[in-house]
Structure formats: structure tokens, C-alpha cells
Symmetry: D2
Subunit: 189 residues, 4 copies
């Protein structure tokens, strides 16, 4: 059975909703999702890190704070150097997601980091794989309303609750991306 | 008199509107704007490159095509290696803008390139300097609706004419940014 | 038979040597290499663009000029928007290489662009997949002497001829990377 | 008196040596250096954050771990959001440095992040301002041996002690960069 690890941090609940949608997408393909949520003190413990070894794909998720991934996520990334050294995650598929309050913000910086982390581990990065919804008539209900290419980018306005945002289009795109990675992982395994 | 060079390419007229707004902002501070538009064949001629030497600040503008600055702009950047070699633009202030059809797209990649080009020339980069408009009630009329930090990012939907987009908020932000750079150039000179 | 397209520009011959080594690596796996060299005027013609459609993997190569890919390569990237629109290259594996005169330079900026271009096309990016050679005793003969992760980065000093540089370690790494991508493309097809 | 804050983390002592050289450069211009070292638990306390408000320039330094700034530094960056909100550091000059074991590694990714952090705060980024040493005869004693443009990049081989590396050229470049920023801060104030 294909297994996809989803490693993420959520500060206020918005990124949790994105992670949930990604996981829903993974399961929709009949794959198993390893739900690895990073706590407020950052990082994962060794047992959690070891669980990732058996996955065929790893998806990284972090909110964009001050122009980059939340430090709690970066703590995990630094801990993963022991897996880097033994090439434990080499050739696994990879993907990433982020959420920020601003429409653009510096989401691209976070996505570039998640992609670089995957490269450090010798992984193979799966792009979003969707044309953008960028016409005058496009709405928040549309797939890939952000027009992302590298991975999944979601927006949650600064005064929104996790019940209000990210919006429908972002969450549907998250499901699509989770399913896409699970499908490719099954094919590649 | 403070002089600010604005070097830009515009494929379909949307980036021209952003450049015009940046120039309007520069002039609003009583500074001179050197309007250097790159043609469809790309690059600038030597006389144009030499004109830039007398400016106190240089602002770079390129639409985001296929995840980076339009090749016509990059041709100018490559030509500017002769100025790089003689350090002709060292310590001049720098700034940048881009426009893309998608809300996010890969605007961040283009901004990162413009910033790197300025660093190659030994310049000093002026960030946008505005908090984002990212509440639930924020609209396209607001300053910094994109939530940019590095420079100016504008959006023009794929089926919009230059009369329709970029929207008011983006153009007002462009004026603000042009004025900000002119003001800092005067102070720094 | 697995087919890997290698699309590259070479200004002074150094990047040609890297491309040759990548192609040698591809062939060492029994795969076919499509050798698509971009000329001094930049870009490829439509017949060349169409040839790429039948490849299972696409490797992009451009020297780093002024902190980014040479404009001749970017012209090709912009032309490829017609393939972007029809998703002709979706799900193909991707990879990239660059060369610069400086040890670090802004190679990372070029690699980030090549990776973003692949994401625009919906591709799946293959990282270098090698630990770095970064001990005190490491030499220019070693694999991955640059310590790259995203793709292949080579160095050719500013006064070196293509016969002198890139050095042995860079070229061996290029062969390794070409072979790695061909192998994964065969597995993934 | 011009005051320059230097905020940095050092895991094994190599980045400490770079910070020391940057500070030496600042002092060589008769400016005051605020030495703010981040501890192993990451971040700074509120009193330390407040001290930064009175500086004319802020230089950020973090080793590159797993392709980005060490998490201990990122924790500080996330904490600085309170200063971001009140624009307390707006228009201050900014700069950055990093060290990694690999020659190239993903230093560029860390530099891009430090530059983005400065932009988030509305700062004005000072590039390195030096041509590269990239000829065949260039040595580890040369200024800007790495060929950096955005800021200061140093190398310390994986098995080197802080006494052995970074090498002379990197440390001299660090002094140059510290002096450059102090000089420009005095001019700009």
C-alpha cells in the first residue's frame, strides 16, 4: 500500500485545514497518509522521524511567517539531517504547501525552501500540475486561484478564523495535490 | 536634481501602466525619471546604458513570463555586464517591479532575480516599505493588496486589457514605491 | 526506448562541456539523448520544441550570467509557453545544470529558475542525489565538490578555456546526474 | 555615533568567527557594534529585540543547515514580527552572512531568506559590493573568493575546527562588508 507522509506545522489552525485537505486527497487514491503534526515547541521526535522512512512520498507544510517557513518546521528540517546523512529519504517523491495572510506575501520564498529541503534529501519534487485560474471572472471557488506552479499555496486573511479561510478553491486544490502525489507515488513505486 | 532610471519591458501594455505609475511617483517628489523602455527585440543600446550612469537610483521592471523575467529584460541584464565590470552602478539605490496574470504566479521568482541583479551591480535595494492589506475586507483599491515586501508586485488577469488592469490599488502602490525610492535617493545622495 | 531531451545554451564552450557530460551519462544507461543546443540569437524553432514532446525527461542547462540564466535560454523558456498552455510536458521528469566563473556566484538563483520552469510545465524535478564532498581534503576531482543538492552546478574560472574547466569532478558529477535522470525516467515510464 | 546590530547564531563556532570579523569591520569605521548572539534554544528576549530599535543598520547571520538558516535564527525572525507590525526597523540598512560546509551548498537560499526578512521589515539591503576573485590563480586568501553578490558567504569544511576555517579570504571579506555597511549607515543617517 502506498504511504505518503505529511509533515506540517499549524500556528492558528489555517494550515491544519490545508493539511487535512491534502490528507483527504491522499486517501481518495486509496493510499495511507502518515499525519505528522509538529507541535508548538517545534521538531519531531526520533520515533516520528523513523516512521517517515517507510513512506514513498513526503509532503512538507509550513505557514509563511516573516517571509519563510515557521521556525517550528525549520527545527524539524534541521533534525532531519540525520536522515540526510544516511540518505534514508533518497528518491522518495516530495511536495509542499504553505499558507499566508497576504495574497502573495512571500509564499514563494517558503515554497523554494520546502523544495530545497526535498533536494537536500535527494527527493523527486512533484509540481502542482494545474493551469492557473487567472481570468477576470475567476473566483475563490476555483482550482489554483493563486496561480501556483511549484506546490500548493493558500491564503487566509489576517482576521479570518480557520472556519472562514482558506477558501474553497484552495482546499479543493489541496485535495487535488494530495491525490496527485499519491497517484504518482503508486506509479513510481 | 535627483535622477531615477526606470528600465522595463512591457509585452502587452500592463507593465507599461505600472512603469508609468512608478514614474509618476518619482516625479511627485520633484525628481527626474529616466524612462528606458526595452523593445520587443530585447536589450538597450550603449547610449541608453551610459545614460543610467548618471542616475542615483535604478528601478528594474519586467513581466513574469514562465516563472521569471521576460527574456527581453534579461538581455538587457546580460548586456549590463560591462557596467558590472567597471562598477559603474555601485552604491546606487535599486528597486523592482513585476506583473503577472496570476494572483501569485511565480512573481517572487522574478522579484528575487531583480534583487540579485541589483546586488551584482553592488547596489542598495529599497524594499516596498508598506504593511500588507490582507484582512477579509481588503479590496483591489487598497495599497499593497498583494502583500509584497521585496518590491512592487501587480496582477493583470489573463483576459484583461491594460485599461482594465492592473487595478487601482496596484497602481497607487506603484506611485508610492516610485516616490519612496526618489525620496531615499535624494536623502542618500 | 527512454528519451531524455537536453536543452542548453553555451556562450563560451564551458557549458557545452557540461552538456556533453550529461548526455554521456544519459547514453551510459542505454537511453537516447535529444541534443538541443540554443544558438546565439536565443530560443528554439517550433520543430525543435515539438521534438521535446516525445521525451520522458527534460534537462535544462544555462550558464549563470549576471545572477541568472543567459537570456538566450530564457527566450526558449518564454517560447515554451505554448507547450505550457497545452500541458504537453506535464509529468515529464526534469533536471537542470549551470556553470559560472565564480565558485558560488549566484548559481543558486539560476538553479531556482530552472526548477521553477519545470514546475510551470507540471514536471517532476530530480535532485542531484549525492552527498557533498566538503572535507578539508576534498579536491576538484571529487564528485559533487560544489555541494549542490537541487541539480548540477559547475565552475569554470573567468580566464579558463573549455579545455581547462569545468574540472574533472564537475564533469563526472554531470555524467552521474545524466545517468540518474535516465534511470529514473525508465523506471517512471 | 552610528550603531550597527549584528544578530547571529553559531552552532559550532565557525559562524561566530565570521560575526567577529564583521564586527571588527564595523568598529574599524568608528561605529558601535551591538553583538546579539542567539543561543542554542533560539530567539532573543524582548529586551534584546528592543535594543535593535536604536541601530541604524541590522546585519543578520545564520549558518546554512539543510538548505536554509538554522532554526534558532528563524525563531528570532518569527519573534521579530512585533517589530514588523510597528515598523520599528523600517528604513534601517540591512545585510547578511552565512557559512556552510560545502563550497556552494545552498548558501544562496539562506541569503535570499535573510534579504527577504530585511524586506519584511521595510529595510534597505546593502549588497557585498565587490567583484569576485574567480581566476584560475585565485586562492583562499583572496577577497570575495566565493564570488558572492547579495551578502557575505563563507565556507568551513565539514571536518574543520573554527581555528582552521573559514579561511583568511572569507574573514577579510567579512571585515570589508562590516565596514561597508557601517560607512553607508553613517552616510545615510
Amino acid at each position: 500500500m502506498t504511504k505518503v507522509a505529511v509533515i506540517y506545522f499549524s500556528g492558528y489552525g489555517h494550515n491544519q485545514k490545508v493539511a487535512d485537505a491534502v490528507i483527504e486527497g491522499i486517501k481518495s487514491e486509496g493510499a495511507e497518509a502518515l499525519d505528522l503534526k509538529i507541535g508548538q515547541d517545534g521538531g519531531l521526535d526520533d520515533a516520528q522521524l523513523d516512521k517517515i522512512d517507510s513512506a514513498q512520498a513526503i509532503i512538507y507544510g509550513a505557514p509563511t511567517y516573516m517571509g519563510g517557513p515557521a521556525w517550528q518546521f525549520k527545527k524539524f528540517a534541521d533534525q532531519s539531517s540525520k536522515k540526510w546523512f544516511t540518505r534514508a529519504w533518497q528518491d522518495k517523491l516530495g511536495g509542499g504547501f504553505t499558507v499566508s495572510a497576504s495574497q502573495v506575501g512571500d509564499k514563494g520564498q517558503t515554497m523554494a525552501y520546502l523544495q530545497t529541503l526535498a533536494s537536500q534529501h535527494g527527493q523527486i519534487w512533484v509540481s502542482l500540475g494545474l493551469l492557473p485560474s487567472n481570468s477576470l471572472a475567476a473566483s475563490e471557488d476555483d482550482l489554483n486561484r493563486r496561480g501556483g506552479s511549484v506546490g500548493l499555496m493558500a491564503t487566509a486573511p489576517s482576521d479570518s478564523s480557520p472556519e472562514q479561510a482558506p477558501f474553497k478553491g484552495d482546499l479543493e486544490t489541496a485535495k487535488f495535490y494530495g491525490a496527485r502525489i499519491a497517484k504518482l507515488a503508486a506509479k513510481f513505486a
